[in-house]
Symmetry: C2
Subunit: 370 residues, 2 copies
């Protein structure tokens, strides 16, 4: 398929790092090589990193987009449990074994795991080479591929090791969503619902209205949704690249979400855990008075329309979940901190402070009543 | 010992990152906690990372300088062969196990290995926490602690994995050099000789004149030498933080030096390998016409005065050494590139290009005739 209309969303990288653009358009998967060379001309040799599933689906096309130049595909086994320091090490060594120098670049082709893992490989390879993010899942398109966060998990928690390494470009082709299983499409919609919840209530409600088109992977519905979510995320990221302030609002649902995901041994997907996390954090916000009553219920309606879970699975013990809260990066000085909604479409803001301390009592109450 | 006069050398971090200062003065080892808190006020909990040798010598004093607050010492076994991803992983996990969040900071207390390793831990911990470099070897004081390079080795070569992570501060106390063995003092002088070779011929000759005072660890001689070297390095780094151009001149002696060091299985220390590398690269420069005749011989005289080797050890086969050149970061598009002297005190500059392609033939000639 040849590329049709392309929409570019600019992103400010911040911290003196180079700005970049997210390109959204059907058929763009076949332009990766051309775009990569244009945005990172110092990189003369490229590798494409993908998990084995995505590699089998799209690896050939992306490698071919480099026009016959040697752009090998490096794969690793699919799954969040492979987002580890050991895989990072193996991919790095595979690049070293090919004699790749500083004049090399990495294409991260895949979902959030690949983007984070391959991004961290690029961030640390010879102290940093360019990465082009080519997200192939909804969650990666609307969330993880934009913003420059890279990293891997450790046994103690998610993303505990990593680096800020903004991409040279992000290339989003909504047609690749058709090959995703329905459950993975639903999962990705959790981050889109989050963008609605923190920044645009109409957008959030619209996701519920177009639920079936989105869940079945209808390309135009996906394209519009992805574009709006990227606009929300790019706007937040551009105003605060290093998460010192505003960017924290993107963590809505993620403090409890990460703990639930880790407590489940990653039996819950990231999106499912964030969906439940958003509901619980909205309920918590209502309980402590930051959030308008009824907001959690409105979130529940949207999330259920896109077939996402909204309750803590009964087998996840509240005490175990709380144990994983302690390992979260968002803990400061031993104090739990979270972002709260003011209402659907807007976060609670105490004079430019977006993350707020919360006591253990209400957290336990909400976890137990869920 | 209480602190006496302190000299501050400012360093521009570049890339939008925060500038920092190198503080040089006798007795400063006891001010680390105070300085760390002042330069990184967001870090409320600190860890001190050192190898077991340096930890035993200075760990207590540095931890005590935090004035009774919990600033634990994390140690690892001494030696370049411990600058690995496995040690990085273990130190990271030790920090996670202590529940350290984003409001933490790292003191890197030790030589170049510790600075690189602990710096890389800080660079990647929760995507980056502040590091204060407290170099305790000459090579670390005059070279590795300034400039923001962090990283670890892989079996294929040195520093193949890492990050740019400028320190929040560098604290240099020349009195700690007294506890170094003479051979390690000599080793560190290799980088100081390099600063003379690339930027200040008088300084280079002065090192030879004051050789005995420097080798025996006389504090005032060390202090002056360290200060002048830091000035040279800070000047170069401040003009080019990301090694795209001028900073490459600091690699003089290092392309062949790294290959020799790796080929020796790290039997040669870094400084010894760089000493030989500088001589060979000066000879190579004379051979290909970039370097004034006799420059290599003048370098040899200075290096011999400070008891450093100037010839390839006969057991290191030239072909094996060349094999390690291929893995070096400074290779671009498969082409070997090196910085050459124009003469002692000045590098060869071809219109703002500092690293120059070199053919394999002359490299082999120089390696074989050494």
């Amino acid at each position: 398929m040849s590329a049709t209309a392309v929409t570019e969303v600019p992103v400010r990288a911040g911290g003196g790092l180079r700005d970049y653009a997210v390109r959204v358009g059907t058929g763009l998967i076949d332009t990766v090589g051309e775009v990569a060379r244009a945005v990172a001309p110092s990189a003369r040799r490229w590798v494409v990193i993908a998990d084995d599933t995505v590699g089998a689906l799209y690896g050939d096309r992306v490698c071919a987009s480099f026009g016959g130049a040697d752009a090998p595909l490096l794969t690793f086994p699919a799954g969040e449990h492979n987002k580890t320091r050991a895989r990072w090490e193996a991919l790095t060594d595979a690049m070293v074994a090919r004699g790749l120098g500083r004049d090399s670049g990495v294409v991260a082709l895949g979902g959030g795991v690949t983007g984070d893992l391959a991004g961290f490989v690029a961030a640390t390879y010879l102290r940093g080479v360019p990465v082009v993010q080519v997200p192939t899942s909804i969650v990666a398109m609307v969330d993880s591929a934009v913003g420059g966060k890279t990293g891997v998990d450790t046994p103690a928690g998610k993303n505990l090791v990593g680096a800020f390494h903004p991409p040279a470009a992000v290339i989003v082709d909504p047609t690749v969503i058709r090959t995703l299983p329905r459950r993975q499409r639903a999962e990705g919609l959790a981050e889109a619902v989050k963008h609605g919840a923190i920044a645009d209530a109409d957008y959030g409600r619209g996701i519920a209205h177009r639920a079936e088109a989105l869940l079945s992977g209808e390309v135009e519905a996906i394209r519009r949704m992805v574009l709006r979510s990227i606009e929300v995320k790019a706007s937040v990221v551009s105003r605060d690249e290093r998460e010192s302030g505003l960017r924290e609002i993107l963590n809505f649902g993620h403090t409890l979400g990460h703990a639930l995901e880790a407590a489940s041994g990653f039996g819950l997907t990231h999106g499912e855990a964030v969906a439940i996390g958003m509901v619980l954090e909205a309920q918590l916000g209502e309980l402590v008075g930051h959030t308008r009553q009824g907001s959690a219920e409105r979130l529940v309606e949207i999330l259920q329309a896109v077939e996402l879970p909204v309750r803590r699975p009964p087998e996840l013990d509240p005490e175990v979940v709380e144990g994983f809260l302690g390992a979260d990066k968002k803990v400061r000085a031993g104090q739990w901190r979270m972002v709260f909604l003011a209402e659907l479409g807007r976060v609670h803001d105490a004079g430019g402070r977006w993350a707020h301390a919360v006591e253990r009592g209400p957290v336990r109450t909400v976890l137990e009543s869920s």
